[in-house]
Protein backbone atom coordinates (compact mmCIF):
# COMPACT_ATOMS: atom_id res chain seq x y z
CA UNK A 1 0.00 0.00 0.00
CA UNK A 2 3.04 2.30 0.26
CA UNK A 3 3.19 4.89 -2.46
CA UNK A 4 6.56 5.14 -4.12
CA UNK A 5 7.44 8.12 -6.28
CA UNK A 6 10.09 7.23 -8.83
CA UNK A 7 13.37 9.06 -8.31
CA UNK A 8 14.38 10.31 -11.67
CA UNK A 9 17.42 12.40 -10.93
CA UNK A 10 19.56 12.40 -7.84
CA UNK A 11 20.10 16.14 -7.81
CA UNK A 12 20.41 18.05 -4.57
CA UNK A 13 16.80 19.06 -4.46
CA UNK A 14 15.45 15.54 -4.55
CA UNK A 15 17.95 14.34 -1.96
CA UNK A 16 16.61 16.97 0.38
CA UNK A 17 13.09 15.85 -0.52
CA UNK A 18 13.96 12.22 0.18
CA UNK A 19 15.58 13.18 3.45
CA UNK A 20 12.59 15.08 4.64
CA UNK A 21 10.36 12.27 3.42
CA UNK A 22 12.26 9.69 5.50
CA UNK A 23 12.10 12.07 8.40
CA UNK A 24 8.35 12.30 7.94
CA UNK A 25 8.15 8.54 7.69
CA UNK A 26 10.10 8.10 10.91
CA UNK A 27 7.93 10.66 12.61
CA UNK A 28 4.83 8.85 11.44
CA UNK A 29 6.22 5.53 12.64
CA UNK A 30 6.93 7.02 16.07
CA UNK A 31 3.41 8.41 16.28
CA UNK A 32 1.87 5.07 15.38
CA UNK A 33 4.14 3.28 17.85
CA UNK A 34 3.12 5.69 20.59
CA UNK A 35 -0.49 4.63 20.06
CA UNK A 36 0.17 0.92 19.84
CA UNK A 37 3.15 0.08 21.97
CA UNK A 38 1.98 0.68 25.55
CA UNK A 39 -0.89 -1.76 25.01
CA UNK A 40 1.10 -4.27 23.00
CA UNK A 41 3.95 -4.29 25.52
CA UNK A 42 1.63 -4.99 28.46
CA UNK A 43 -0.08 -7.67 26.41
CA UNK A 44 3.23 -9.23 25.42
CA UNK A 45 4.64 -9.20 28.95
CA UNK A 46 1.60 -10.64 30.70
CA UNK A 47 0.09 -12.87 28.03
CA UNK A 48 2.35 -13.74 25.11
CA UNK A 49 5.48 -14.27 27.14
CA UNK A 50 3.74 -16.47 29.73
CA UNK A 51 2.24 -18.41 26.84
CA UNK A 52 5.68 -19.21 25.50
CA UNK A 53 6.86 -19.93 29.03
CA UNK A 54 3.99 -22.37 29.53
CA UNK A 55 5.09 -24.40 26.55
CA UNK A 56 8.73 -24.18 27.66
CA UNK A 57 8.01 -25.24 31.26
CA UNK A 58 6.06 -28.24 30.05
CA UNK A 59 9.17 -29.78 28.51
CA UNK A 60 11.13 -29.62 31.74
CA UNK A 61 11.09 -31.17 35.15
CA UNK A 62 10.86 -28.31 37.61
CA UNK A 63 9.42 -27.87 41.11
CA UNK A 64 9.20 -24.09 40.94
CA UNK A 65 11.97 -23.42 43.45
CA UNK A 66 15.18 -25.20 42.42
CA UNK A 67 17.59 -23.16 40.32
CA UNK A 68 18.04 -25.85 37.68
CA UNK A 69 15.48 -27.22 35.25
CA UNK A 70 15.93 -30.64 33.66
CA UNK A 71 14.85 -31.05 30.09
CA UNK A 72 12.60 -34.09 29.81
CA UNK A 73 11.00 -33.67 26.38
CA UNK A 74 7.44 -34.96 26.19
CA UNK A 75 7.73 -36.88 29.46
CA UNK A 76 5.19 -34.68 31.27
CA UNK A 77 2.65 -35.20 28.51
CA UNK A 78 3.26 -38.97 28.55
CA UNK A 79 2.71 -38.96 32.31
CA UNK A 80 -0.54 -37.07 31.87
CA UNK A 81 -1.97 -39.80 29.67
CA UNK A 82 -1.27 -42.28 32.49
CA UNK A 83 -2.60 -40.05 35.25
CA UNK A 84 -6.03 -41.33 36.27
CA UNK A 85 -6.97 -38.12 38.05
CA UNK A 86 -6.06 -35.97 35.08
CA UNK A 87 -8.08 -38.18 32.74
CA UNK A 88 -10.96 -38.14 35.20
CA UNK A 89 -10.76 -34.33 35.30
CA UNK A 90 -10.93 -34.16 31.51
CA UNK A 91 -13.98 -36.41 31.65
CA UNK A 92 -15.58 -34.12 34.23
CA UNK A 93 -14.93 -31.16 31.95
CA UNK A 94 -16.76 -33.00 29.19
CA UNK A 95 -19.67 -33.85 31.49
CA UNK A 96 -19.68 -30.22 32.59
CA UNK A 97 -19.93 -29.12 28.94
CA UNK A 98 -22.87 -31.45 28.25
CA UNK A 99 -24.77 -30.53 31.41
CA UNK A 100 -24.21 -26.81 30.83
CA UNK A 101 -25.47 -27.04 27.26
CA UNK A 102 -28.59 -28.87 28.41
CA UNK A 103 -29.38 -26.50 31.24
CA UNK A 104 -28.32 -23.29 29.59
CA UNK A 105 -29.28 -23.12 25.92
CA UNK A 106 -32.93 -24.14 25.46
CA UNK A 107 -34.31 -22.91 28.82
CA UNK A 108 -32.63 -19.53 28.34
CA UNK A 109 -33.95 -19.28 24.79
CA UNK A 110 -37.49 -20.04 25.96
CA UNK A 111 -37.15 -17.40 28.66
CA UNK A 112 -35.91 -14.91 26.07
CA UNK A 113 -38.88 -15.64 23.80
CA UNK A 114 -41.27 -15.09 26.72
CA UNK A 115 -39.62 -11.79 27.65
CA UNK A 116 -39.63 -10.61 24.04
CA UNK A 117 -43.45 -11.03 23.95
CA UNK A 118 -43.95 -8.63 26.85
CA UNK A 119 -45.43 -5.34 25.67
CA UNK A 120 -44.83 -3.16 28.70
CA UNK A 121 -42.03 -3.84 31.16
CA UNK A 122 -39.65 -5.72 28.89
CA UNK A 123 -36.73 -3.72 30.26
CA UNK A 124 -37.68 -4.56 33.82
CA UNK A 125 -37.61 -8.30 33.18
CA UNK A 126 -34.42 -8.11 31.18
CA UNK A 127 -32.70 -6.23 33.99
CA UNK A 128 -34.14 -8.49 36.70
CA UNK A 129 -33.22 -11.77 35.08
CA UNK A 130 -29.72 -10.49 34.42
CA UNK A 131 -29.14 -9.71 38.10
CA UNK A 132 -27.42 -13.00 39.12
CA UNK A 133 -24.80 -12.45 36.40
CA UNK A 134 -23.69 -9.25 38.07
CA UNK A 135 -22.52 -11.07 41.20
CA UNK A 136 -18.94 -12.21 41.55
CA UNK A 137 -18.25 -15.92 41.42
CA UNK A 138 -17.00 -15.71 45.00
CA UNK A 139 -20.43 -14.47 46.06
CA UNK A 140 -22.21 -17.09 43.95
CA UNK A 141 -19.95 -19.83 45.26
CA UNK A 142 -20.35 -18.94 48.94
CA UNK A 143 -24.08 -18.37 48.55
CA UNK A 144 -24.73 -21.68 46.81
CA UNK A 145 -22.55 -23.71 49.14
CA UNK A 146 -24.77 -22.44 51.94
CA UNK A 147 -27.89 -23.24 49.91
CA UNK A 148 -26.64 -26.79 49.44
CA UNK A 149 -25.56 -27.15 53.08
CA UNK A 150 -26.82 -30.55 54.28
CA UNK A 151 -27.80 -29.35 57.76
CA UNK A 152 -28.76 -25.69 57.56
CA UNK A 153 -29.21 -25.12 53.85
CA UNK A 154 -32.68 -23.99 52.77
CA UNK A 155 -33.12 -26.86 50.28
CA UNK A 156 -32.80 -29.55 52.91
CA UNK A 157 -34.63 -27.59 55.58
CA UNK A 158 -37.50 -27.23 53.14
CA UNK A 159 -37.47 -30.90 52.11
CA UNK A 160 -37.47 -31.99 55.75
CA UNK A 161 -40.28 -29.62 56.64
CA UNK A 162 -42.57 -31.15 54.03
CA UNK A 163 -41.69 -34.66 55.15
CA UNK A 164 -39.39 -35.60 52.26
CA UNK A 165 -36.45 -36.27 54.55
CA UNK A 166 -35.18 -39.05 52.28
CA UNK A 167 -34.65 -36.58 49.43
CA UNK A 168 -32.48 -34.31 51.54
CA UNK A 169 -29.00 -35.19 50.35
CA UNK A 170 -25.52 -33.99 51.01
CA UNK A 171 -25.56 -32.24 47.65
CA UNK A 172 -21.90 -31.33 47.43
CA UNK A 173 -20.69 -34.41 49.27
CA UNK A 174 -22.09 -37.25 47.17
CA UNK A 175 -20.39 -38.33 43.93
CA UNK A 176 -23.66 -38.58 42.02
CA UNK A 177 -24.89 -35.08 42.87
CA UNK A 178 -21.82 -32.93 43.19
CA UNK A 179 -21.25 -32.06 39.51
CA UNK A 180 -24.93 -31.47 38.68
CA UNK A 181 -25.23 -29.29 41.80
CA UNK A 182 -22.19 -27.26 40.74
CA UNK A 183 -23.46 -26.90 37.18
CA UNK A 184 -26.79 -25.59 38.47
CA UNK A 185 -24.97 -22.91 40.47
CA UNK A 186 -22.84 -22.09 37.45
CA UNK A 187 -25.87 -21.89 35.17
CA UNK A 188 -27.45 -19.49 37.61
CA UNK A 189 -24.34 -17.32 37.47
CA UNK A 190 -23.94 -17.27 33.68
CA UNK A 191 -27.29 -17.59 31.89
CA UNK A 192 -27.86 -13.81 32.02
CA UNK A 193 -25.32 -13.09 29.32
CA UNK A 194 -26.90 -15.65 26.99
CA UNK A 195 -30.34 -14.28 27.74
CA UNK A 196 -29.22 -10.87 26.56
CA UNK A 197 -27.67 -12.30 23.41
CA UNK A 198 -30.89 -14.17 22.62
CA UNK A 199 -32.98 -11.06 23.25
CA UNK A 200 -30.77 -9.06 20.89
CA UNK A 201 -31.07 -11.82 18.29
CA UNK A 202 -34.84 -12.03 18.65
CA UNK A 203 -35.14 -8.30 18.13
CA UNK A 204 -33.60 -8.55 14.70
CA UNK A 205 -36.05 -11.16 13.38
CA UNK A 206 -38.24 -9.85 10.58
CA UNK A 207 -41.68 -9.56 12.16
CA UNK A 208 -43.48 -10.05 8.85
CA UNK A 209 -42.37 -13.70 8.84
CA UNK A 210 -44.62 -14.29 11.85
CA UNK A 211 -47.51 -12.44 10.25
CA UNK A 212 -47.18 -14.59 7.15
CA UNK A 213 -47.16 -17.70 9.34
CA UNK A 214 -50.25 -16.42 11.15
CA UNK A 215 -52.07 -16.19 7.82
CA UNK A 216 -51.02 -19.77 7.09
CA UNK A 217 -52.49 -20.71 10.46
CA UNK A 218 -49.26 -21.90 12.09
CA UNK A 219 -49.35 -22.52 15.84
CA UNK A 220 -46.80 -21.11 18.31
CA UNK A 221 -44.68 -24.26 18.42
CA UNK A 222 -44.42 -24.48 14.65
CA UNK A 223 -43.52 -20.81 14.48
CA UNK A 224 -40.82 -21.37 17.09
CA UNK A 225 -39.24 -24.25 15.14
CA UNK A 226 -39.72 -22.87 11.64
CA UNK A 227 -39.04 -19.18 12.14
CA UNK A 228 -37.44 -18.38 15.48
CA UNK A 229 -34.80 -21.11 15.56
CA UNK A 230 -33.59 -20.72 11.94
CA UNK A 231 -33.48 -16.91 12.24
CA UNK A 232 -31.44 -17.20 15.42
CA UNK A 233 -28.85 -19.49 13.89
CA UNK A 234 -25.99 -17.07 14.32
CA UNK A 235 -26.90 -16.21 17.89
CA UNK A 236 -27.32 -19.89 18.72
CA UNK A 237 -23.87 -20.61 17.30
CA UNK A 238 -22.31 -17.88 19.41
CA UNK A 239 -24.12 -18.94 22.57
CA UNK A 240 -23.32 -22.63 22.18
CA UNK A 241 -19.65 -21.93 21.59
CA UNK A 242 -19.49 -19.56 24.56
CA UNK A 243 -21.16 -22.12 26.83
CA UNK A 244 -18.65 -24.76 25.77
CA UNK A 245 -15.66 -22.49 26.29
CA UNK A 246 -16.93 -21.36 29.68
CA UNK A 247 -17.44 -24.95 30.73
CA UNK A 248 -13.90 -25.87 29.75
CA UNK A 249 -12.50 -22.92 31.69
CA UNK A 250 -14.55 -23.32 34.87
CA UNK A 251 -12.52 -22.82 38.04
CA UNK A 252 -13.68 -20.30 40.64
CA UNK A 253 -17.03 -21.86 41.57
CA UNK A 254 -15.58 -25.34 41.93
CA UNK A 255 -12.64 -24.09 43.91
CA UNK A 256 -14.86 -22.19 46.32
CA UNK A 257 -17.56 -24.83 46.70
CA UNK A 258 -15.75 -28.19 46.67
CA UNK A 259 -12.06 -27.71 45.76
CA UNK A 260 -12.60 -30.65 43.41
CA UNK A 261 -13.84 -32.95 46.15
CA UNK A 262 -15.04 -35.26 47.49
CA UNK A 263 -12.23 -37.57 46.38
CA UNK A 264 -11.68 -35.80 43.04
CA UNK A 265 -15.34 -36.32 42.17
CA UNK A 266 -15.71 -32.74 40.96
CA UNK A 267 -12.11 -32.18 39.88
CA UNK A 268 -11.78 -30.25 36.63
CA UNK A 269 -8.54 -29.80 34.70
CA UNK A 270 -8.20 -26.24 35.99
CA UNK A 271 -8.55 -27.18 39.66
CA UNK A 272 -6.28 -30.18 39.34
CA UNK A 273 -3.61 -28.15 37.60
CA UNK A 274 -3.84 -25.45 40.28
CA UNK A 275 -3.36 -28.00 43.05
CA UNK A 276 -0.50 -29.72 41.26
CA UNK A 277 1.34 -26.45 40.76
CA UNK A 278 0.74 -24.61 44.01
CA UNK A 279 0.29 -27.26 46.65
CA UNK A 280 2.14 -30.26 45.26
CA UNK A 281 5.00 -28.25 43.69
CA UNK A 282 4.77 -30.21 40.44
CA UNK A 283 5.08 -27.00 38.48
CA UNK A 284 6.20 -28.26 35.10
CA UNK A 285 3.83 -31.20 35.20
CA UNK A 286 0.92 -28.91 36.04
CA UNK A 287 1.92 -26.55 33.27
CA UNK A 288 1.78 -29.41 30.78
CA UNK A 289 -1.77 -30.09 31.95
CA UNK A 290 -2.71 -26.45 31.52
CA UNK A 291 -1.17 -26.41 28.05
CA UNK A 292 -3.42 -29.34 27.10
CA UNK A 293 -6.42 -27.36 28.34
CA UNK A 294 -5.25 -24.26 26.49
CA UNK A 295 -4.81 -26.16 23.23
CA UNK A 296 -8.30 -27.65 23.50
CA UNK A 297 -9.85 -24.23 24.11
CA UNK A 298 -7.90 -22.44 21.37
CA UNK A 299 -8.45 -25.21 18.83
CA UNK A 300 -12.15 -25.18 19.55
CA UNK A 301 -12.37 -21.38 19.33
CA UNK A 302 -10.47 -21.15 16.06
CA UNK A 303 -12.28 -23.99 14.34
CA UNK A 304 -15.60 -22.63 15.49
CA UNK A 305 -14.84 -19.19 14.08
CA UNK A 306 -13.65 -20.77 10.86
CA UNK A 307 -16.88 -22.75 10.60
CA UNK A 308 -18.94 -19.65 11.33
CA UNK A 309 -17.21 -17.55 8.71
CA UNK A 310 -17.70 -20.28 6.15
CA UNK A 311 -21.39 -20.76 6.82
CA UNK A 312 -22.33 -17.11 7.14
Amino acid sequence: MTQSTPLIEMDKKSVVAVNSRTKLKIKKAITIASFLLPGLILYAVFMLYPMIDAVRFSFFDWDGASPSMNFVGFENYVQLTKDDIFLKSLGHNLLWVLLSLTLMVVPTLVLAVLISRVKKGKMFFRAGFYLPSVLSLAVVGVLWSKIYDPMMGPINVFLKSIGLESLAKNWLGEPLFVIPALVIASTWAFYGLYLILFLAGLQSIDYSLYEAADIDGAGPIRKFWNITIPSLRNTLNVVISMVIIHALKGFALIWIMTQGGPFYMSELVSTYVYKAAFSMNKVSYATAGSVVLGIIVIAFTISFNYYRERTE
Binding site: M51, V118, P154, W255
Partner: protein
Protein backbone atom coordinates in the same frame (compact mmCIF):
# COMPACT_ATOMS: atom_id res chain seq x y z
CA UNK B 1 -62.16 -7.27 17.14
CA UNK B 2 -63.20 -6.64 20.73
CA UNK B 3 -62.75 -10.27 21.76
CA UNK B 4 -59.42 -10.43 19.97
CA UNK B 5 -58.22 -7.46 21.97
CA UNK B 6 -59.43 -9.04 25.19
CA UNK B 7 -57.65 -12.25 24.29
CA UNK B 8 -54.44 -10.35 23.69
CA UNK B 9 -54.75 -8.56 27.00
CA UNK B 10 -55.53 -11.84 28.74
CA UNK B 11 -52.45 -13.51 27.31
CA UNK B 12 -50.32 -10.51 28.34
CA UNK B 13 -51.55 -10.89 31.91
CA UNK B 14 -50.72 -14.62 31.97
CA UNK B 15 -47.32 -13.84 30.51
CA UNK B 16 -46.59 -11.16 33.08
CA UNK B 17 -47.68 -13.38 35.95
CA UNK B 18 -45.59 -16.31 34.67
CA UNK B 19 -42.50 -14.17 34.24
CA UNK B 20 -42.91 -12.51 37.63
CA UNK B 21 -43.17 -15.84 39.41
CA UNK B 22 -40.15 -17.11 37.50
CA UNK B 23 -38.16 -13.98 38.30
CA UNK B 24 -38.98 -14.28 41.97
CA UNK B 25 -37.92 -17.92 41.97
CA UNK B 26 -34.66 -17.30 40.14
CA UNK B 27 -33.63 -14.33 42.26
CA UNK B 28 -34.73 -16.01 45.50
CA UNK B 29 -31.13 -16.99 46.49
CA UNK B 30 -30.30 -13.29 46.61
CA UNK B 31 -33.31 -12.49 48.79
CA UNK B 32 -32.52 -15.49 50.94
CA UNK B 33 -29.01 -14.18 51.54
CA UNK B 34 -30.21 -10.66 52.33
CA UNK B 35 -32.83 -11.93 54.81
CA UNK B 36 -30.38 -14.35 56.40
CA UNK B 37 -27.81 -11.60 56.84
CA UNK B 38 -30.11 -10.03 59.45
CA UNK B 39 -30.70 -13.25 61.35
CA UNK B 40 -28.83 -15.18 64.00
CA UNK B 41 -27.61 -18.69 63.25
CA UNK B 42 -30.47 -20.12 65.27
CA UNK B 43 -33.03 -18.14 63.37
CA UNK B 44 -31.61 -19.08 59.95
CA UNK B 45 -32.02 -22.71 60.87
CA UNK B 46 -35.45 -22.56 62.45
CA UNK B 47 -37.13 -20.18 60.01
CA UNK B 48 -35.05 -19.85 56.84
CA UNK B 49 -37.71 -18.31 54.63
CA UNK B 50 -39.39 -15.78 56.91
CA UNK B 51 -38.55 -12.13 57.46
CA UNK B 52 -36.04 -11.60 60.27
CA UNK B 53 -37.53 -10.97 63.72
CA UNK B 54 -35.61 -7.73 63.96
CA UNK B 55 -33.47 -5.86 61.45
CA UNK B 56 -30.20 -5.93 63.33
CA UNK B 57 -26.92 -5.22 61.61
CA UNK B 58 -24.68 -7.32 63.89
CA UNK B 59 -23.62 -9.62 61.07
CA UNK B 60 -22.61 -6.68 58.90
CA UNK B 61 -20.67 -5.03 61.70
CA UNK B 62 -19.08 -8.37 62.56
CA UNK B 63 -18.01 -9.06 58.99
CA UNK B 64 -16.79 -5.52 58.42
CA UNK B 65 -14.57 -5.52 61.52
CA UNK B 66 -13.85 -9.14 62.36
CA UNK B 67 -13.60 -10.22 58.75
CA UNK B 68 -11.42 -7.30 57.61
CA UNK B 69 -13.90 -6.47 54.88
CA UNK B 70 -12.87 -2.84 55.12
CA UNK B 71 -9.32 -3.71 54.06
CA UNK B 72 -10.52 -6.05 51.30
CA UNK B 73 -12.80 -3.34 50.04
CA UNK B 74 -10.00 -0.79 49.76
CA UNK B 75 -7.69 -3.32 48.08
CA UNK B 76 -10.34 -4.20 45.51
CA UNK B 77 -10.99 -0.51 44.90
CA UNK B 78 -7.29 0.14 44.31
CA UNK B 79 -6.88 -2.72 41.84
CA UNK B 80 -10.13 -1.99 40.04
CA UNK B 81 -9.74 1.76 39.66
CA UNK B 82 -6.08 1.45 38.72
CA UNK B 83 -6.97 -1.23 36.19
CA UNK B 84 -9.79 0.82 34.66
CA UNK B 85 -7.60 3.89 34.22
CA UNK B 86 -4.76 1.87 32.72
CA UNK B 87 -6.99 -0.13 30.37
CA UNK B 88 -8.62 3.04 29.07
CA UNK B 89 -5.27 4.83 28.62
CA UNK B 90 -3.69 1.92 26.79
CA UNK B 91 -6.42 0.00 24.97
CA UNK B 92 -8.26 2.96 23.45
CA UNK B 93 -5.23 4.37 21.57
CA UNK B 94 -4.27 0.89 20.38
CA UNK B 95 -7.79 0.19 19.17
CA UNK B 96 -7.73 3.58 17.47
CA UNK B 97 -4.47 2.79 15.68
CA UNK B 98 -5.84 -0.54 14.45
CA UNK B 99 -9.05 1.05 13.20
CA UNK B 100 -7.88 4.37 11.76
CA UNK B 101 -4.17 4.45 11.04
CA UNK B 102 -2.55 2.71 8.09
CA UNK B 103 0.70 0.95 8.75
CA UNK B 104 2.46 -2.22 7.70
CA UNK B 105 1.51 -5.33 9.63
CA UNK B 106 -1.75 -3.88 10.94
CA UNK B 107 -3.69 -7.08 10.28
CA UNK B 108 -0.95 -9.37 11.47
CA UNK B 109 -0.57 -7.53 14.78
CA UNK B 110 -4.31 -7.51 15.20
CA UNK B 111 -4.49 -11.27 14.73
CA UNK B 112 -1.88 -11.57 17.45
CA UNK B 113 -4.18 -9.58 19.72
CA UNK B 114 -7.13 -11.79 18.77
CA UNK B 115 -5.11 -14.84 19.79
CA UNK B 116 -5.18 -13.44 23.31
CA UNK B 117 -8.97 -13.49 23.25
CA UNK B 118 -8.97 -17.23 22.63
CA UNK B 119 -6.25 -17.99 25.16
CA UNK B 120 -7.70 -19.04 28.52
CA UNK B 121 -6.07 -17.57 31.66
CA UNK B 122 -5.94 -21.05 33.17
CA UNK B 123 -3.40 -22.05 30.53
CA UNK B 124 -0.90 -19.37 31.50
CA UNK B 125 -1.57 -18.66 35.16
CA UNK B 126 1.38 -20.75 36.37
CA UNK B 127 4.01 -18.94 34.24
CA UNK B 128 2.36 -15.63 35.13
CA UNK B 129 2.98 -16.35 38.80
CA UNK B 130 6.63 -17.13 38.23
CA UNK B 131 7.13 -14.16 35.95
CA UNK B 132 5.62 -11.81 38.51
CA UNK B 133 7.81 -13.46 41.12
CA UNK B 134 10.93 -12.73 39.08
CA UNK B 135 9.77 -9.12 38.82
CA UNK B 136 9.39 -9.01 42.61
CA UNK B 137 5.68 -8.25 42.39
CA UNK B 138 4.01 -11.33 43.82
CA UNK B 139 1.79 -10.37 46.77
CA UNK B 140 1.54 -6.75 45.66
CA UNK B 141 -1.58 -4.90 44.56
CA UNK B 142 0.35 -3.30 41.70
CA UNK B 143 1.29 -6.74 40.41
CA UNK B 144 -2.33 -7.89 40.36
CA UNK B 145 -3.36 -4.65 38.67
CA UNK B 146 -0.78 -5.00 35.90
CA UNK B 147 -1.61 -8.65 35.22
CA UNK B 148 -5.34 -7.87 35.22
CA UNK B 149 -4.76 -5.13 32.66
CA UNK B 150 -2.57 -7.37 30.50
CA UNK B 151 -5.23 -10.07 30.46
CA UNK B 152 -8.03 -7.59 29.79
CA UNK B 153 -6.24 -6.00 26.83
CA UNK B 154 -7.12 -8.34 23.94
CA UNK B 155 -10.84 -7.91 24.40
CA UNK B 156 -10.48 -4.21 25.26
CA UNK B 157 -8.41 -3.44 22.16
CA UNK B 158 -10.88 -5.44 20.08
CA UNK B 159 -13.82 -3.51 21.51
CA UNK B 160 -12.18 -0.12 20.96
CA UNK B 161 -11.15 -1.03 17.43
CA UNK B 162 -14.76 -1.85 16.62
CA UNK B 163 -15.86 1.42 18.19
CA UNK B 164 -13.35 3.52 16.27
CA UNK B 165 -14.11 1.75 13.02
CA UNK B 166 -17.61 3.23 13.13
CA UNK B 167 -16.17 6.76 13.26
CA UNK B 168 -15.83 8.14 9.69
CA UNK B 169 -12.22 8.50 8.58
CA UNK B 170 -12.99 11.83 6.93
CA UNK B 171 -13.19 13.43 10.37
CA UNK B 172 -9.61 12.49 11.09
CA UNK B 173 -8.47 13.67 7.69
CA UNK B 174 -10.15 17.05 8.00
CA UNK B 175 -8.62 17.53 11.43
CA UNK B 176 -5.23 16.71 9.89
CA UNK B 177 -5.76 19.35 7.22
CA UNK B 178 -6.42 21.85 9.98
CA UNK B 179 -2.93 21.04 11.19
CA UNK B 180 -3.77 19.02 14.30
CA UNK B 181 -1.27 16.28 15.19
CA UNK B 182 -2.33 12.66 15.44
CA UNK B 183 -2.59 12.69 19.23
CA UNK B 184 -4.46 15.99 19.30
CA UNK B 185 -6.93 14.64 16.75
CA UNK B 186 -7.32 11.57 18.89
CA UNK B 187 -8.03 13.40 22.13
CA UNK B 188 -10.18 16.24 20.90
CA UNK B 189 -11.99 14.83 17.87
CA UNK B 190 -12.03 11.03 17.88
CA UNK B 191 -12.19 10.01 21.53
CA UNK B 192 -15.30 12.08 22.30
CA UNK B 193 -17.04 10.29 19.42
CA UNK B 194 -16.09 6.92 20.87
CA UNK B 195 -17.63 7.69 24.25
CA UNK B 196 -20.29 4.94 24.22
CA UNK B 197 -17.65 2.31 23.48
CA UNK B 198 -15.38 3.74 26.14
CA UNK B 199 -18.16 3.66 28.73
CA UNK B 200 -18.89 0.03 27.86
CA UNK B 201 -15.19 -0.75 28.17
CA UNK B 202 -14.96 0.86 31.60
CA UNK B 203 -18.00 -1.02 32.88
CA UNK B 204 -16.65 -4.32 31.57
CA UNK B 205 -13.30 -3.69 33.14
CA UNK B 206 -14.88 -2.78 36.45
CA UNK B 207 -16.94 -5.97 36.55
CA UNK B 208 -14.08 -8.20 35.43
CA UNK B 209 -11.49 -6.93 37.85
CA UNK B 210 -13.78 -6.32 40.81
CA UNK B 211 -15.27 -9.80 40.51
CA UNK B 212 -12.10 -11.67 39.63
CA UNK B 213 -11.11 -14.61 41.77
CA UNK B 214 -8.32 -16.58 40.07
CA UNK B 215 -5.68 -13.86 39.78
CA UNK B 216 -5.93 -12.66 43.40
CA UNK B 217 -5.99 -16.28 44.58
CA UNK B 218 -2.77 -17.10 42.77
CA UNK B 219 -0.92 -13.80 43.07
CA UNK B 220 -1.75 -12.61 46.60
CA UNK B 221 -0.49 -14.31 49.72
CA UNK B 222 -0.88 -12.15 52.80
CA UNK B 223 -4.34 -11.54 54.17
CA UNK B 224 -3.99 -7.77 54.34
CA UNK B 225 -3.59 -7.69 50.55
CA UNK B 226 -6.71 -9.74 49.79
CA UNK B 227 -9.42 -8.45 47.48
CA UNK B 228 -13.06 -8.67 48.41
CA UNK B 229 -13.64 -11.93 46.49
CA UNK B 230 -10.63 -13.60 48.01
CA UNK B 231 -11.48 -12.16 51.42
CA UNK B 232 -15.00 -13.55 51.27
CA UNK B 233 -13.61 -16.94 50.31
CA UNK B 234 -11.19 -17.04 53.22
CA UNK B 235 -13.84 -15.65 55.59
CA UNK B 236 -16.22 -18.48 54.73
CA UNK B 237 -13.38 -20.90 55.52
CA UNK B 238 -12.73 -19.36 58.94
CA UNK B 239 -16.37 -18.95 59.92
CA UNK B 240 -17.70 -22.05 58.18
CA UNK B 241 -20.47 -22.68 60.70
CA UNK B 242 -21.44 -19.10 61.33
CA UNK B 243 -24.04 -18.63 58.61
CA UNK B 244 -25.20 -15.21 59.75
CA UNK B 245 -21.73 -13.67 59.60
CA UNK B 246 -21.01 -15.29 56.23
CA UNK B 247 -24.21 -13.89 54.76
CA UNK B 248 -23.29 -10.49 56.17
CA UNK B 249 -19.98 -10.69 54.29
CA UNK B 250 -21.69 -12.03 51.18
CA UNK B 251 -24.16 -9.15 51.03
CA UNK B 252 -21.36 -6.61 51.60
CA UNK B 253 -19.53 -8.17 48.66
CA UNK B 254 -22.62 -8.00 46.43
CA UNK B 255 -23.44 -4.35 46.99
CA UNK B 256 -20.84 -2.55 44.83
CA UNK B 257 -21.44 -4.57 41.67
CA UNK B 258 -25.20 -4.33 42.07
CA UNK B 259 -24.99 -0.54 42.50
CA UNK B 260 -22.79 -0.14 39.42
CA UNK B 261 -25.16 -2.39 37.50
CA UNK B 262 -28.25 -0.42 38.51
CA UNK B 263 -26.65 2.90 37.57
CA UNK B 264 -25.29 1.81 34.21
CA UNK B 265 -27.88 -0.86 33.49
CA UNK B 266 -28.68 0.24 29.98
CA UNK B 267 -25.19 0.77 28.56
CA UNK B 268 -24.11 -2.33 30.44
CA UNK B 269 -26.60 -4.64 28.76
CA UNK B 270 -26.21 -3.08 25.34
CA UNK B 271 -22.43 -3.19 25.56
CA UNK B 272 -22.65 -6.87 26.49
CA UNK B 273 -24.81 -7.67 23.49
CA UNK B 274 -22.77 -5.71 20.98
CA UNK B 275 -19.44 -6.85 22.37
CA UNK B 276 -20.27 -10.52 22.13
CA UNK B 277 -22.04 -10.35 18.80
CA UNK B 278 -19.22 -8.86 16.80
Amino acid sequence: MGTRLKQLKGSQVTLLVTLSVLLLFITSPIFYAVLASFKSNMEIFSSPFSLPKSWNFDNYIGAWNLGNFKTYFLNSAFITIGGMVLVALVAAPAGYAFAQLTFKGNNLLFYLVLLGMALPVQAIIIPIFFQLKSMGMVDTLTGVTLVSVGLALPFSIFLMRNTFRDVPKELRESAAIDGAGEWRTYWSVMLPLAKPGLVALLIFTFMNIWNDFLLPLVLLISQEKFTISLGLYSFQGEQSTNFGLIFGGTVISMIPSIIVYLIFQRSFVEGMASGANK
